[in-house]
């Protein structure tokens, strides 16, 4: 139909925020709290959602997703807890070193890839280390609705047990903490055994822990639908690349954080689109020449199309390599 004019931003909507508190919790983890400069309420969110924090780090933009860990019923703040990763790509170091109270930052609207199954009769949370953060919001949400939950939380040591004391004192009967350095471990098999029908298990932590929970639950006859883990699909930026558009007779640069479609629009090329999500097929574009690898992310083209490299969907897909010429 195309009832344009439209506002043609891609990706999740953004929210301007001010850093309202920076609270070091232990040697590794710091909580950052945000408010809105205009004093407006934040959009509500569902427990398990994350936000993508945009960091301006000396001319380069970093985009890191963090679970929202504040109480979803409190619209006045958003909070995240960030574990410093000295070996990582630098986002968490930037947060720890550079972000100060009063700084202006940008967050995306919440996106939830780890939601509660609201049909659950009982919710069992299994956290490893910083994996505790989404459960902080889930616990707050379930407490509001009198949900039935329990938490099993494995941390390295008492000193690194982020929020462990707070949780234990608030919910002494529901929270179980295990310290590695005291040779304590979650007794998963016993835990899975004997849970009432309709129980859901949620795991957030290191990959090994997630795999262990899925495998053990399957061995004990648990349906996969009842075992949830966060699949962290970070937003999908990519390396900048150059494209020649032969009909328009221009060569354009696609930046790290924009899509090929957005780059074309920025350069004044009138490119078709409807969904901007790789589903409708409108933006399908013929490839004239390519020397490199396509990063196809659409649901429109089939596997053969993806393999043969003759077509690309500019709203979501990218390219890595030397030359790309499109029939546009």
């Amino acid at each position: 139909m195309t009832a344009a004019p439209q506002n043609t931003k891609a990706g999740a909507e953004k929210i301007a925020v001010t850093v309202s508190a920076v609270v070091p919790l232990n040697d590794l983890v710091t909580r950052f709290e945000f408010t809105r400069p205009d004093g407006a309420a934040f959009p509500p969110f569902s427990a398990g959602a994350h936000t993508v924090v945009e960091m301006r780090d000396q001319g380069r933009t970093r985009l890191n997703p963090y679970s929202l860990m504040s109480d979803p019923s409190d619209p006045s703040i958003y909070a995240i807890s960030v574990r410093r990763d000295d070996q990582g790509r630098g986002g968490s170091l930037f947060m720890h070193r550079n972000v100060k109270v009063g700084d202006a930052m940008t967050l995306t609207y919440p996106v939830n890839l780890f939601s509660l199954d609201l049909r659950g009769r009982k919710h069992v949370f299994l956290a490893g280390g910083i994996g505790i953060t989404p459960f902080m919001a889930m616990i707050a949400q379930l407490e509001q609705s009198n949900g039935n939950w329990e938490l099993h939380y494995a941390c390295r040591s008492e000193a690194l047990g982020t929020y462990a004391d707070q949780l234990r004192s608030h919910y002494p009967n529901k929270v179980h903490v295990y310290f590695d350095d005291q040779n304590q471990a979650i007794g998963l098999e016993d835990l899975l055994d004997g849970q009432p029908l309709g129980t859901h298990v949620y795991v957030c932590g290191p990959k090994g822990m997630i795999d262990w929970v899925h495998t053990t639950a399957a061995e004990h006859g648990w349906p996969s639908e009842n075992v949830h883990s966060e699949e962290f699909l970070a937003p999908q930026p990519g390396k900048p690349f150059e494209v020649r558009l032969c009909k328009s007779d221009i060569t354009i640069q696609v930046g790290e954080h924009e899509s090929l479609l957005e780059a074309m629009e920025r350069c004044g090329v009138d490119a078709p689109f409807l969904c901007r999500g790789g589903a409708c097929g409108q933006c399908e574009t013929d490839v004239v020449e390519a020397d490199g690898e396509f990063v196809h992310r659409d649901h429109w083209l089939d596997d053969d199309d993806h393999a043969c490299g003759k077509k690309i969907m500019p709203c979501v897909s990218r390219f890595v390599g030397k030359t790309l010429v499109l029939d546009r």
Partner: protein, 357 residues
């Protein structure tokens, strides 16, 4: 502009009418001279001023009459509004979304005053001024989904999202194109679409589902769907099909222009923030054939679309038996001239009908 609400009915004497304003802003669904199912989705971020796409929830001259019709249907059959137990939060989400949007988009008609959890909702056209506690069902006369959808045009399906799938776990459905919420509730995206011909084979539902799973908060989407209805009957339900089906046989060459209606659904998709469910409002717009052909471009195009539509689709949409009579009527308004691309009426630029021959 302030809207003049019509006094009209969608049953019995069928006094429903579209004003000239409503005809010009009608969401004509065909952007070219032929039609086939497609993944015709786009972002829902406004549209030209005055168009049905402009606001998040369009309110028009039929508002009060449609709400009266809904009240009649729900009184006769409460199963038209249902919500599985885990969907109450999504019901509150729906209430919040609609109250927020309507009070922002139509401040002269609707007001929402919030003081923490104490909310006051004013719906001037319906004469409602009600204070309640957000998230406390005991302060509403019925569930939150039913409460707000009794005050909002269009049907509503509320989809729970689990295991990379959408599940139709709640809804209010009284203006449907012949499907039953009571039967479909609890089904998944592929199951409730099972009766649709051809689209599964074309891969449309697979792609559409992937897109919908990714619809994010603050970034709604929309699409159009259409069918045909004899008489401006909103409640073409399977439940009552044994009563209204016979009306399809009452068309004559004399009455078809007034009786035969094109039925267009403006379908929108909103991610609900607290429940992570997806809201699917299905807003039904009706227009008599005689009003469509008052726009020359639309008359020409509708004739061509109906003529060339595959039999499977004409059968599924329930008008295969009446198609010849429709074509006889519409053919009078197709002079064979080309039509401009797009859905808009283009009244200034498209030539008037020329049947001079």
């Amino acid at each position: 502009m302030t809207i003049q609400f019509n006094k009209e009915t969608f049953r019995d004497d069928y006094s429903f009418r579209n004003s000239d304003w409503a005809i010009k802003r009608f969401p004509f669904p065909f952007h070219e001279d032929s039609y086939m199912y497609s993944v015709n989705m786009e972002q829902h971020r406004g549209g030209p001023p005055g168009s049905v796409y402009e606001k998040r929830f369009d309110v028009d001259e039929h508002y009060l009459a449609e709400m009266e019709d809904r009240a009649i249907v729900l009184a006769e059959d409460p199963l038209r509004c249902q919500s599985l137990p885990h969907m109450t939060l999504a019901g509150w989400d729906t209430l919040e979304l609609i109250m927020t949007c309507k009070s922002e988009d139509y401040p002269d008609l609707f007001e929402l005053h919030r003081d923490g959890k104490r909310w006051r909702w004013v719906n001037k056209p319906m004469g409602i001024d009600h204070s309640f506690t957000f998230l406390d069902e005991t302060t509403l006369p019925c569930g939150p989904l039913e409460y707000i959808t009794r005050q909002t045009q269009g049907d509503f399906a509320v989809l729970d999202q689990r295991d990379e799938m959408l599940w139709m776990d709640a809804g209010t459905v009284t203006t449907q194109a012949d499907w039953s919420l009571d039967f479909d509730i609890g089904m998944n995206f592929f199951e409730w679409h099972a009766p649709v011909p051809m689209a599964h084979e074309l891969g449309i539902f697979k792609r559409a589902l992937k897109f919908l799973l990714n619809v994010q908060q603050g970034a709604p989407a929309r699409r159009l769907n259409w069918t045909m209805t004899v008489n401006p009957l909103l409640d073409t339900s399977p439940e009552n099909y044994h009563k209204w089906g016979i009306q399809k046989t009452t068309l004559t060459p004399e009455n078809i222009g007034a009786k035969q209606h094109l039925r267009v659904e403006l379908q929108t998709f909103f991610r609900l923030p607290r429940s992570n469910a997806l809201l699917f409002p299905i807003r039904c717009y009706l227009i008599a054939f005689q009003d469509i052909v008052s726009v020359p471009k639309w008359g020409r195009r509708l004739h061509r679309v109906v003529r060339d539509l595959p039999d499977e689709l004409a059968t599924y949409k329930g008008f295969i038996a009446n198609r010849p009579m429709m074509l006889d009527y519409l053919g009078q308004y197709d002079d064979g001239r080309p039509t401009s691309p797009g859905i808009w009426p283009d009244l200034e630029t498209e030539p008037p009908l020329d049947m001079g021959r």
